[in-house]
């Protein structure tokens, strides 16, 4: 157990060194998208609209936080792993060392969680300043942390199975990008036909934004979505372990 924690930290340590060296660049790039959404949709498009009884800014803020958690965690965990594995080929060093695959998977996930939390906290500060309806409850923090884990697991999984840079790009375009816009981040799912909603429930971000919004705006909490989010986390982590087992002897 102690060894597992030490190994997890050893894996995380490398990525933290990297982050420490490039923290400003990392933070800046991960904040550009959410800030653009905030300005374009929150202020630009949505200034006159009300949703579910809230002004649009209050409504959209949890959605933007959810998608920030997704993109920062997914990218933070997956991109460097992918480059290390396929281009620099230094990922082999982990596989040749006597640490368990579990520690490796968790260690590689944690950097995504760290980066996801840094970005979302930065956006959250902006959100609390501009919208007084937004509440940071313990449940909100819990959902946020779980979301970061879920999308980091996804990043590690995709980083491990992608066979080329194109694969990463394809996944981003076909899965991450649609998820960003469609998962109830910018609008309420109740506005959509049921058939479409059913499809959108297959995205983890949908559940993440539903839970975050309910927690932040003090609405009835969608426990079923919370369970679904946990389910996605378990499935993605199992996928990571499977991919690592396949990659090692």
């Amino acid at each position: 157990m102690v060894t597992a924690f030490r190994d997890i930290y050893s894996v995380l340590w490398v990525d933290l060194r990297f982050l420490r060296r490039h923290w400003l660049r990392t933070l800046a790039t991960s904040l550009v998208n959410p800030l653009l959404y905030l300005v374009a949709f929150g202020y630009g498009l949505g200034s006159g609209i009300r949703f579910d009884g809230y002004n649009y800014l209050a409504f959209v803020m949890p959605g933007i936080i959810a998608l920030t958690a997704m993109s920062s965690s997914y990218g933070g965990a997956g991109l460097k792993l992918h480059v290390d594995r396929l281009f620099y080929k230094c990922f082999d060093e982990y596989l040749m060392s006597p640490i368990s695959l579990f520690s490796l998977a968790v260690g590689k996930t944690l950097i995504g969680v760290v980066r996801g939390l840094i970005s979302t906290v930065a956006i959250l500060v902006v959100g609390v300043l501009i919208s007084d309806a937004l509440m940071v409850t313990p449940l909100f923090v819990l959902v946020l942390v779980i979301s970061c884990f879920v999308f980091s697991f996804l990043g590690v999984l995709v980083g491990l199975v992608a066979k080329s840079h194109q694969d990463m790009g394809t996944f981003s375009t076909l899965v991450i990008l649609p998820m960003t816009f469609l998962s109830g981040t910018f609008f309420s799912l109740s506005q959509l036909p049921e058939a479409v909603t059913a499809v959108l429930y297959m995205f983890p971000l949908t559940h993440s934004s539903l839970c975050l919004r309910a927690a932040a705006l003090d609405q009835p909490f969608p426990w079923l979505s919370f369970a679904a989010l946990l389910g996605f986390g378990v499935a993605f982590f199992a996928g990571c372990m499977w991919a690592l087992k396949k990659a090692s002897v």
Partner: protein, 287 residues
């Protein structure tokens, strides 16, 4: 002599392609064993199997008595690997890379510090300790890779084509470093397609072609088996023929009796390349 690495009928197939084909190897403890062969002969695949990165299709491989498939963790603790490409984290400094490897191998904080200092000094990289790997020259990167792989004091060091792409001076410095490791008791398993490297460094050389070990011996023995003296003759100005002789006297007498159409005769010492060409009909380094 104690066998440190043993493979028995080791085979690795990728689909229809057979990378290693029933390979039987015995590497003695403490020796520098050279694995010589052309590109695509199966050298890197063999290293990948021995270092637990690739699962063999059949046969088995043991490192210090531990099976690489059944007991990979025991194997991982005693191997150090210097890959062909730069496998360090380029965004970290030399020292950070070394610390990272030490952490992966569970070295404590004070031991890490001590070992980093010693090893940097050992390879003359102390000045470069805090430079990013990306900013180092090719030779320095290689030395940094070697010291990183030595952090946990491995019993055997695998070096995959250690001097590819390095200039002659850097190459010789690396050779000296490898000799020093050998003198300090490390078993060294190195692949190369540079004949002179195998001759300069290795106690024994295994020649591999198309995934099979086709000859094995001390460099001198291999050359003796072929004939220590080579005569190159240009026939009709287009075809070079090679003949091998036990000594210069035999070679000279052959040359004196050559027909008139044979021109430009060179008498020289045979090298491992001659051995290789005779065994495989191909030049080392050719694909």
């Amino acid at each position: 002599m104690e066998e440190f690495i043993v493979t028995e009928k080791l085979t690795k197939k990728y689909g229809d392609v057979t990378a290693i084909d029933g390979l039987d190897l015995k590497v003695h403890a403490g020796e520098i064993y050279g694995f010589l062969g052309p590109n695509g002969a199966g050298k890197t695949t063999t290293i990948r199997v021995l270092t637990t990165l690739t699962k063999p299709t059949s046969g088995r491989a043991l490192v210090n008595g531990f099976d690489v498939v059944k007991e990979p963790d025991a194997v991982k603790k005693m191997i150090g690997v210097v890959q062909q490409h730069v496998s360090l984290d380029r965004d970290l400094t030399v020292k950070e890379n070394m610390e990272f490897r030490a952490r992966l191998h569970h070295l404590g904080s004070s031991e890490r510090k001590k070992r980093i200092g010693e090893l940097l000094d050992y390879v003359g990289l102390t000045e470069e300790a805090d430079r990013l790997v990306d900013d180092l020259s090719g030779g320095m990167k290689k030395r940094a890779m070697i010291v990183s792989s030595l952090m946990h004091s491995p019993k055997v060091l695998f070096l995959d084509e250690p001097t590819v792409g390095l200039d002659a001076q850097t190459r010789r410095r690396l050779w000296d470093l490898i000799r020093r490791l050998h003198l300090d008791g490390t078993t060294v398993f190195l692949t190369t397609h540079y004949i002179e490297e195998a001759e300069a460094l290795c106690q024994r050389v295994g020649i591999i072609d198309q995934g099979r070990l086709i000859d094995l011996g001390k460099p001198l023995e291999l050359r003796q088996r072929l004939g220590l003296v080579t005569v190159e003759t240009l026939v009709n100005n287009k075809e070079t023929r090679y003949q091998y002789f036990a000594d210069r006297a035999a070679a000279t007498s052959y040359v004196q009796n050559l027909p008139p159409e044979a021109k430009t005769v060179i008498i020289r010492e045979s090298n491992l390349e001659d051995v290789f060409v005779e065994l495989t009909g191909r030049k080392v380094g050719a694909d």
